[in-house]
């Protein structure tokens, strides 16, 4: 039970970080991605801050025998760069650049009640369901059952 409470708290803290940093705003994300416009570098600092903190703590935590509320860590172990990874990341990047929402901000945006946020979210969930079908048709599936990266 305390484990789930802490998971909930991590979610709250994550969303608070998204909100404070400006990641919740698609117009600010586009302002960061648009190098040829009035470039706003703020979100580079979000990435440096978040990945930096993770880098500092990750190595200390992973040396422990197990996490506080589980018997083992669930951390990806693959290191090969395959076609799926590249194609998936490219499709994601195109969608991100079109609208300015990645999955976390797309979820938190629902609380705003903004119609385009709701439309985006429904389309995103549809894409998350559809992936197996498209994946199979394109013959990209190679890693059924293995751990995900993130």
């Amino acid at each position: 039970m305390p484990g789930y409470l802490l998971v909930f708290f991590c979610g709250v803290l994550f969303a608070a970080g998204l909100g404070l940093s400006g990641m919740t705003l698609p117009q600010k994300v586009i302002g960061f991605l648009d190098f040829a416009g009035e470039w706003d570098p703020s979100l580079a600092l979000v990435m440096v801050g978040s990945a930096g903190v993770y880098f500092v703590f990750y190595r200390r935590i992973i040396r422990r025998a197990h996490p506080l509320f589980d018997v083992s860590f669930h951390v990806p172990t693959r290191t090969d760069i395959d076609q799926r990874l590249i194609v998936g990341a490219a499709l994601f990047g195109i969608g991100w650049g079109l609208v300015g929402f990645c999955p976390g901000p797309a979820l938190t945006a629902l609380v705003s009640g903004y119609d385009k946020a709701l439309i985006f979210f429904v389309a995103m969930v549809t894409g998350m369901y559809a992936y197996r079908t498209v994946d199979a048709i394109a013959g990209l599936r190679t890693d059924e059952g293995t751990a995900v990266d993130g």
Binding site: G11, I30, L45, V53, A90
Partner: protein, 142 residues
Amino acid sequence: MEGFTPVLSTIGGIMIGLAAVGLLYFNGRIAGISGIMGGVLRPQKGDTLWRAVFLLGLLAGALTVMWLHPESFDLRVDVSDPTVILGGFLVGIGTRIGNGCTSGHGVCGVGRLAPRSIVASAVFFGCAVLTTFLVRHVWEGF
């Protein structure tokens, strides 16, 4: 929130990093939003509740932010609805095919120096910058 916000963006980034660190320390999980959502959409026994709890935490945090700092949810999307639908679909399918998004690959994966995540982050970031350029400066009508 308009313009350069170095202090708020750095503090926000550190909070995101600490939240991801917490999820690893307490539960041994990677804080990748697309992966966590994907698991909820296709539930597997014993591996769904923590995901749902985390996503509820995100929504609760978002509501709190909207209450204390409403500027964070003054959202503007200036592309048409069909573009929003296309973008949403690509983000959904792309993050599942590529096993991660800005959080799973970008924050956690880069933070643990995972080669797959570093490559994925470079690809999605490059494609996002290129797409933004084409849509904002070359083609019109999106």
